[in-house]
Point group: C2
Amino acid sequence: MARVYNFSAGPSCIFEEVLEEASSQMLEYGDSGMSVMEMSHRSDHFEEIINRCESSLKSLMMIPDNYEVLFLQGGASLQFCMIPMNLLYKGSADVIHTGIWTEKAIKELNRLGKAEVIASSEDKTFTYIPKIDESMINDTADYLYICQNNTIFGTRYAELPITKGKPLVADLSSCILSEPVDVSKYGIIFAGAQKNMGIAGLTTVIIRKDLIEDRKNIPSMLSYKVMADNKSMYNTPPTYAIYICDLVLNHITRKIGGLAEMEKKNREKADILYTYLDSSSLFKNPVNKEDRSLMNVTFVTGDENTDKDFIVKAEEEGFVNLKGHRLVGGMRASIYNAMSLEGVKSLVSFMSEYERNK
Amino acid sequence: MARVYNFSAGPSCIFEEVLEEASSQMLEYGDSGMSVMEMSHRSDHFEEIINRCESSLKSLMMIPDNYEVLFLQGGASLQFCMIPMNLLYKGSADVIHTGIWTEKAIKELNRLGKAEVIASSEDKTFTYIPKIDESMINDTADYLYICQNNTIFGTRYAELPITKGKPLVADLSSCILSEPVDVSKYGIIFAGAQKNMGIAGLTTVIIRKDLIEDRKNIPSMLSYKVMADNKSMYNTPPTYAIYICDLVLNHITRKIGGLAEMEKKNREKADILYTYLDSSSLFKNPVNKEDRSLMNVTFVTGDENTDKDFIVKAEEEGFVNLKGHRLVGGMRASIYNAMSLEGVKSLVSFMSEYERNK
């Protein structure tokens, strides 16, 4: 038995060193005499973990002082309702529609107010990021909403849209920590942890402090104000997921050397894969070149049976979870931070060989 | 370094065998070639885990077929708003008020409708469970709400209240799996996992199917209907927490021998501790005898400095997290399923010795 190359879109591969550390600390963490799983969230040991996790994230992402970091539950999907509950005043938000995840956000937004879709790439099966100009932004919008990296369709914003002074609310679930971002350009950044931050069950929200208001009649658990006032400990937080996130952040800081280095590695991996795809006569990537995701690389052969055969044969060789999302078909290689350069090179070798033998 | 006796109220001690199994499977689970942390929630391996977890729970608790089991996020605290959002029609619920956790539930209920407090033990600092009769139940109430075991004050319902046909909604966070319960008597049972089911970040809801309705304008993530229709996979569930829960359920089933055996062990532990407390001239348990919790045993010396001294000395001997909740003071020994008989006996020995030397 050996570890496979796991190209899952999420939950997804984790740095092996992180897993090894978690395993070795499973029965006793430091001098605590217990597992992190068993620790009271109010204990000194856990306080140290959550505080270190927060300060590592602040330092890695260079988060300015006027932002709050929250560790929440419920995934990005719970943010789809928390955001409008907390941020809608006039009642509507502008949305750039780029795939399934903005579609879900729009649906929840429309339950609590109104989503104004100011641009969409649905006309070309979401294979590009639409451009917007100032004239498209509604004066009445409370914020502008985007999904920065689209896991399913393999697109990403190479540049952020203009916002005309509106707070930019962005879903970074599948690209957070993959490269440096200028946090000061956002009102809210949010991300589920199960791609680049650790395990499912933790959601990180980075919110500009002036957007945190005491909204009346919002359930406590859905109020950014309550969560911020209680430093993410209004109730028991997902302690073990926060611990794994802390290990991941520590790994990126100390072993990788920060987000600029992380980006370099990610660009190298993506370049190798896209360069091969662009030269292949069997596999094609359908995404507009300048909008290609560094994290999720989609490809098709144009023939369903060949796609199926490729996926089966790849799995036999230890390249797993290459099947594309059921709504898109084809293949997808998610090459998050924890996917090694060696993993991508091996995949490309395998694909070349498959192509030669076809 | 050695493992301590951890009397934390939650997150709390976990069966050592479960931790050992999790540690040994951390890098590779079965023939998957990956950690459970890295598995897609849509993968065959994870589907097997969540299905086994559900069927083990159904079999252990003898959950009738007309109940749905949901694995959610957000802790019991998120249930405080989900329950009224999904169950209020006429607009109010009857509540028996027995401490901080019903207080929090009442607060959230009053944001979305009205909580009618039909009985309360606040007059005696929540040291007993108030009795109710049929005349106290409001015809207009949509359901009757209780907290079955009160972690902070150390009380529990030895018998369920009459409900006059209303659905009984019960918070079993700190007593689920500690003894058999007759699920058919409840409308909803819910519990955070971090006491008897594993780790923080997972909340189990057992709901009678006729209570699951398609409520309009509820956010998807807060709808029991959406969660039930998607078999707890509307979005990525807390996969690793579900895996740990599965290991815990397996341990209770195979190593302990089921909930009747679990109850026997829990009663033995509680008896030893209460018998000592009732005979002690230094320590006192303030709870009405018939309402004493089997899981959370509170005690005081009546002198704050002695309490403090005891807690410090106990910690030096490896008995940790004995400090009572900040709202109650004194001490509390939480003796959940995973606390061994040996742990309780050792604590009582230590307390006796402390008393002799006083």
